[in-house]
Symmetry: C2
Subunit: 428 residues, 2 copies
């Protein structure tokens, strides 16, 4: 099959007719599948069910330091949970605070605190005329929703195969004092699965922001979420790099066990410099007496240590890998050479990012929906839901079964083909 | 023994000598007891240990509506958890949102949201020159800490045996548009154990605030925390009253299972009008994907329904009642008629409130500490830690054993006597 744009109008129209027949057939199968979010499958959840047994009515509920995990006390997490998540996040255990079930909530609260109380003595952002954030795109919709919610202006920064466009980041951050932060998913990024290169991380650590209260929001959501044993990405640890460069306070690092144990019933953490953590604790002690220590204990008893967690992640990988490969092989087989889309094969994370021809993404998602396949809204990977090229589509292969994914893949490529033909025919 | 103020200087000095001997003796016992917070005892925590068994690796993790409680989804709580907490809070299940482990966190977030986004279209409080809150005193230190943290001016309103001074509340609220809220612990109040009378609740529901975005922060922390089967306080349900009076949106009601199941590992909730909840959900969906549904399921499976919870609370009462009675009998026996302090015998909740002679509270707490008894800081029950009469002391009898409490009671009354004598002798 030649590239679509090299085909004549007649050829395209003939092809369209054939594809429409196929689409009709597949639509008749009555699929009803929601692939809109990066949700683990039931099989993945099952591998953590041992977590329901490690605590029982006959067991000792004391933490290593003797604290009764059932009672009030311990603001920032029990020692052994700090150790576990510190190892997971590759930071010293004293540079971590354990929170509740959601790192998103921690990020939201971090922005909220900056709005009302400022960052380390800086003016509360709510009192400034203008606050801006850099948003590498495509990116994570829930990050952008937080900054949008607080009226923060978002500036798109294009992603490259090695991370955000650092020339642009360096220039903007050093020139504009209103820029207070940047959202990053540095490893197996959402949605592209890109891991920031060594050079990118080094350039982040060397940033010279105009704003003293500028912070890198380093959401390492997929730090140990590899798909392969033999092909893994490595990410340089940002806290240490910033410290070496004399900017220890420039970064907040977030993570959670949401996609390790149970989404919504895991534990979240922030890692940061001593000074940042001291400030966070000052506010945190007003907000809560402490987070769920029983659940912290449950995680520690279940995983034991970071090695236990790494072994556990292999089980997730074994379930996820065939799903990613199913989608990728469908894309490879059906779309290679047609010039109507591009994608990256990730080595970890939860997503495959697909770039359609400009102006086609919304129509493709709508077309797929016609056949019962709900995908993430086109545009969701951009601030304010606005993808200026209307090109990017996030594919989330984790939740469906392999069988469903096979069908979903077929619906998707058919939708891409049909919409692309319409586009080339000027009918879109 | 006559009232101290009717004794001569010589009599007081002789008495002081005797008491000092007693104090020395008791100090020698080397007690080390922290009675500063309202923490349940280990015995109380033990009665909830069955909660660690109700979920296990072989069990069904689906909620009543079929949702897999282990996965993402369900922003505002699973249906059966809503029903359980709605029954506990005496509201319809559709007027409730389930949160994480801490109602304090929900209250903090409610204020934070009002600061940055305003209340139902009102000006964000952070953009106003002045925001004020009414604070019934004595009250809960952590409430006051939240308003202090956000720079909200706090106005003391004296508590009476039937609740806050409603003449003052009505007058202030109707006159001053800067008054945006009032902190209430309406049942078995912290620290006095007072339950608001029917008239007080009715007057709350009939309030005509100058500020459209005025809200009653109704922290019903001890709604089912009775000490007795035969002597219980009743509190009129405020949401319904406000609705009847045509002010359905005027109140936020907070509660949690922190002192029912496990402190820090319970579930919290807010109850409010449809319009208030809709606004909260709009913000909440930016802040989190959802709270810990596994823990919600655990609570439902353990308690079954509100009747199960009520039966459970009897076990707490059986443990707490003798402790309250131990403290109260010590106060009765040692201080009645001396004119150096007054207290209320509560029928529920977690505290006994003691009012010393003016200017004595700080010295009493310091004196008790000399003998190894740590109490809540004097002043903590007032905004900014400032009890203008330096009189109120909060006694928290729940955590110590009966034996420890016996000794603690003796230390406390000795401290009260010694400090009161110094006060009368002009030596304080």
């Amino acid at each position: 099959m030649p590239a679509y744009k090299e085909m004549s109008v007649e050829e395209l129209e003939a092809l369209k007719k054939d594809l429409e027949k196929e689409f009709k057939k597949i639509k008749a199968k009555g699929l009803k599948l929601d692939m809109s979010r990066g949700k683990p499958s039931a099989l993945q959840l099952n591998i953590s069910m041992g977590m329901m047994d490690v605590l029982h009515s006959g067991c000792d509920m004391a933490g290593e330091e003797g604290v009764d995990c059932r009672n009030y006390g311990v603001l920032d997490g029990i020692k052994e949970a700090k150790q576990l998540l510190a190892d997971m996040m590759e930071v010293p255990k004293d540079n971590i605070i354990i929170f509740g079930n959601s790192s998103l909530n921690v990020m939201y609260d971090t922005i909220a605190r900056s709005m009302t109380h400022g960052v380390m003595g800086g003016t509360p952002w709510a009192k400034l005329d203008k606050v801006k954030f850099l948003c590498p795109v495509p990116g994570y919709d829930r990050h952008f929703a937080i900054t949008e919610h607080f009226g923060i202006e978002m500036i798109n920064v294009p992603m490259t195969p090695t991370g955000p466009d650092m020339d642009m980041v360096e220039k903007l951050v050093s020139e504009d004092e209103a820029i207070k932060g940047i959202w990053c998913v540095p490893k197996y990024s959402n949605p592209q699965g890109i891991t920031y290169s060594d050079e990118t991380v080094h350039r982040f650590a060397k940033l010279k922001p105009a704003a003293e209260d500028f912070r890198i929001f380093w959401d390492n959501a997929y730090g140990i979420h590899h798909l392969y044993e033999d092909k893994q990405d490595y990410l340089i640890e940002i806290l240490m790099e910033c410290k070496k460069e004399g900017h220890p306070d420039m970064v907040y690092k977030f993570s959670s066990t949401s996609k390790i144990s149970f989404p919504g019933s895991g534990i979240a953490a922030i890692a940061a410099s001593d000074a940042n953590l001291a400030e966070i604790r000052r506010q945190m002690k007003i907000q809560t007496i402490g987070h769920d220590k029983v659940n912290q204990l449950r995680h520690v008893r279940f995983f034991g240590d970071i090695h236990g967690m790494v072994k556990h992640m292999r089980k997730h990988a074994d379930i996820l890998r065939p799903k990613f490969e199913m989608v990728l092989s469908t894309l490879d087989r059906e779309l290679t050479g047609l010039g109507i889309g591009s994608w990256i094969a990730p080595r970890g994370g939860y997503f495959i990012s697909f770039d359609a021809m400009e102006g086609c993404a919304k129509a493709i998602v709508a077309k797929a929906k016609e056949a019962g396949l709900v995908m993430t809204d086109a545009g969701a990977t951009y601030p304010n839901g606005n993808d200026p090229k209307d090109s990017n589509i996030r594919i989330a292969p984790s939740y469906p079964t392999l069988e469903e994914l096979k069908l979903a893949g077929e619906i998707f490529v058919l939708s891409v083909k049909l919409v692309s033909i319409d586009k080339l025919l000027g009918k879109l």
